[in-house]
Symmetry: D2
Subunit: 327 residues, 4 copies
């Protein structure tokens, strides 16, 4: 089946992530290497629906490996969630002679491709592009390493002020459903406590931790809080801690969208390059409905249903590491 693939469409979908351009570049160059054609679809599935596509060659993707965001643009398409939208998409896919799709995005984007495949039998392979690292079937998603470093660099700056003023900083980082960013950036930035969605925390425990910190001689602290944590949000948590410890000089910072952008790290560029090539090779070997990922530093393909339904779990060793270091 893969033998008949002569022309691949590639799109980026969902929230943008640093390294999407590197993945796109790899898809396009792998197509050239295997002597097939590659077409860029703009704005995610919207570009299929609106027939907004562009022929891509090796030179069209030059000097983008170091750029954040995605030159194809991305969108969350509501129309593609309707049968009518997908019908239009299929018509344009046929019109453009696309034999298969590479979908760079998160689980929402994969779900769309999966439904599309069931209805129209379009082969596709997904590439995990999201900063949250919450997709099953890969040790790392594209953009995650860059986001971690963005957070850590930001908290390094906050620590200057925290230390100079003997303050407690509560820092909200991204991660609606997953604590990977919070846990790893928290360890790396020397956080006193880290609140993540996967763990039941309480303001009491947090206060205990801050009190221990004070007793051990610390004059300032950083607390990292994932946006998906369950205690009511960073401002509410700060308020409750302040109610118990009015002597604390507390500041809240929400890092926000800066975590999604920026030039990708080396790790994200290499990961994206490998997965982009793997996706093309997979399609040419007749694979479909899979996600290309990395496990133990090897390329692996995971059934897309698994990638969507299952979730990576937080490593309990890391939670222990965080606790030991906060001593």
């Amino acid at each position: 089946m893969g033998k008949n693939i002569k022309r691949i469409g590639v799109l980026t979908s969902g929230g943008d992530a640093p390294g999407m351009n590197a993945a796109l570049r790899a898809v396009v160059r792998a197509c050239k290497y295997y002597q097939i054609e590659s077409i860029g679809i703009r704005q995610g599935y919207e570009g299929l629906i609106n027939n907004d596509m562009i022929e891509l060659g090796p030179r069209s993707v030059k000097n983008i490996i170091n750029q954040g965001g995605t030159i194809l643009k991305t969108a969350r398409s509501t129309e593609f969630r309707t049968p009518e939208g997908r019908k239009k998409a299929y018509e344009h896919l046929q019109k453009n002679n696309l034999d298969a799709l590479v979908v760079i995005g998160g689980d929402g984007s994969f779900t769309g491709a999966n439904i599309f495949h069931k209805e129209y039998n379009v082969p596709f392979i997904g590439i995990p592009g999201t900063i949250d690292n919450d997709i099953f079937g890969t040790d790392f998603t594209i953009g995650y390493d860059t986001a971690l470093n963005t957070v850590v660099e930001a908290v390094d700056k906050l620590r200057d002020t925290a230390t100079s003023h003997d303050r407690v900083f509560f820092v909200e980082v991204m991660g609606r459903d997953a604590g990977f960013i919070a846990l790893n950036s928290g360890i790396a930035s020397g956080a006193q406590d880290i609140l993540i969605p996967e763990q039941r925390d309480s303001v009491e425990d947090l206060c205990d931790s801050l009190e221990r910190s004070e007793e051990s001689g610390k004059k300032s602290s950083i607390v990292i809080i994932a946006e998906g944590e369950q205690l009511g949000g960073v401002y509410e948590i700060a308020k409750q801690v302040k109610a118990r410890h009015q002597e604390y000089d507390i500041r809240v910072t929400v890092l926000g969208h800066i975590q999604r952008g920026g030039s990708p790290t080396c790790h994200d560029r290499v990961l994206a390059s490998r997965l982009g090539i793997a996706a093309v090779e997979g399609l040419l070997e007749g694979k479909t409905n899979l996600m290309a990922g990395i496990r133990s530093n090897k390329i692996v393909f995971t059934p897309i249903d698994e990638a969507i339904i299952k979730h990576n779990e937080i490593d309990t060793e890391l939670i222990k590491v965080a606790n030991i270091l906060a001593i």
Copy 2:
């Protein structure tokens, strides 16, 4: 009078700013160079009141030129605002044989030193250390250039997402009374509009600007808003714009405290080094009640009253530059 100065106390006060350590290092080494002693006072005026001081030599300040924050720590002392507080401060100053003070901070810190001088005749020279650049008597304050670059790097990351998603980002930057950070970082990050405290703006004008932007073919925009702007805050502004343009995909980001930290830029390190030396030399020449600053790249001393009362004005050329570039 300056001839009798044998021992100088140095403190950092008010909000921390990148480059304060570089200024401190310069003060200490200049003291050594001119064969006098230097004493570091911890936590701003609190350290005078609480007799929290440390003898400093050239090696005590090694490898701090590149560090944000202040190794002396800083604080806003409420006690120093009382006659009793200043009395205690003076007693410890005498006890430690301090002949003069170098005060690294903003106008609040200078006001304190000024009152202290009137009461106890303690010679002092101020060094402008604040990211806001709103102190009269110097073209640049220490920390301002670093803050600008922190903002610009952050907005560069946001632009990746803005462009990838065709979004409008409203970004709040520091500047309660002054628009220097907003105006310069706005120009440097290609902002479509910039709202500053010094200018009367309106949501209508902002919407006009965004509409012009759209008509000219722009799909995404950045709007930089100083925290001291007069329209009710970034969230309120975003709400009002959204009310008129529901089709806009708007996101708000408050950069917050990351703007205060970080390793100082080359410019801030050199500026801080020059002002630190100038302050010591000034005291040795018998100067007092002055602020050391830079004008047209030359060291100048400004009467501290002027430095406190007057304010640098926004350059109207820059406002025009911002308008032309937003075309």
Copy 3:
């Protein structure tokens, strides 16, 4: 005369510098603002000679303000130094209806424009784009501030190793004729000694400085050496110091071309934006044979002959600052 200007050609010439794109963007947008046309000339004067030009509008220069290098590319044209080359250039200039030129580059580029003007009476204004800061008529050249920060960040990394191993690092930085980069980056990176072309130095003096450093308790040192210094180059200097002090653990690093690239700093972006607009406004006011620059933070125009012949001098205050800090 300026009234007749309807179409301006803009080129970047000589060595590339961060901020050239920001200047280009400002030229193009200022042209639009003043309702005239702008044409980009590729590869410096080569593009005039080879008729390699492109119509530019406000959207052609989007998202380049943060990019190093120059999207127009640059070259050192040998053909433009010949009467025949300039004749071809003039023919293509006429063919493209260009009424004036904006030349972004260094003194070599300005010299070319000057000769071209004498022969063909083509109005032009120069914009100083070079990292070396050695052009008379402006306090800062475009790219200089970025280069300084690149050097300082690199030396901050070297200092980690120098300190960890008790080593002496000799670091060569750019500056064939001028010591601005060396002197300022040297102060900002805490150098023990700084060798620049403008000063007569000797290996004896350098050794004295390193010996004093050792006596004062320093275990590691950084020495910054401008490439144009007069003692025979960084490797030779290292060899001679080693001959006298075999106990020193010396390492040499030549920073090289990384100093020319990178995303421009806020300062360079604002400077480039201001000068780009000023150049267009100058031409429209009938000005020619001038360089737009910044003095005391105001736009000034300097006769191009002066800009070429004269040179900014090293501020002796800075040399003293460097000496005091090395105590």
Copy 4:
């Protein structure tokens, strides 16, 4: 046996690497957590020989997780290679009541510890701290990820100039025996060719690659060359390529020691933290003569002999990735 461990000595040895401080911090805090004492040994094995040690507690290692280099300093001790040196070391070890050692360094440092163990039966665990990633028994060494990003950021800057001037840059990166840095940074920086010690290359092949690049429309190229490559060094290679292609505008850059320094990335900080804790836990469980490493994201212990003798091999998939992307 591990039960009797009450006091652990920790040292950093060999070339410094970013993340060594994070590892040290983790060792010290893990000791506190498990209620034993930790002693820092300065200058690697030299500190044992010269009895240069310091008691460390949780607060002694505050705010170092983000610092490059090593606060304990490091050295390559020649005296420790002699029986006499090791005898002195053992005497001081006994005098300080050290029950075990944690050695943060490379294979040379592990060899020393191994011999020392054979002679004096001192339990130890090694932690791989070197930017080269060439130590068997771990997927990543501490400092490697930071070095990769330093290289990639530097080459990003060079690419600005390469593209603006249509140049070919030959960039030498670290890696005397191993091509990990070259291969991964080469992929991430979009290199046209990558020369590594593990592969037999030739100037012919390199020229072929550059010619193909030109034919495919590329006007500029980056070639990454590991210092341990077999063709005679970057300058010699550049000379030979120039001899065949005089039309190429070639520049050589040797990145040098900047690759060893800098604030560690998030990845290196987390890795170092995990390995530091693992080493202490290992010793407490009675383990010795092992290296703590990470494989497939799990802590593993490898016999130190294996870690010294065996070497990680370059992944052939990555070589293929590099080739495909250079199309």
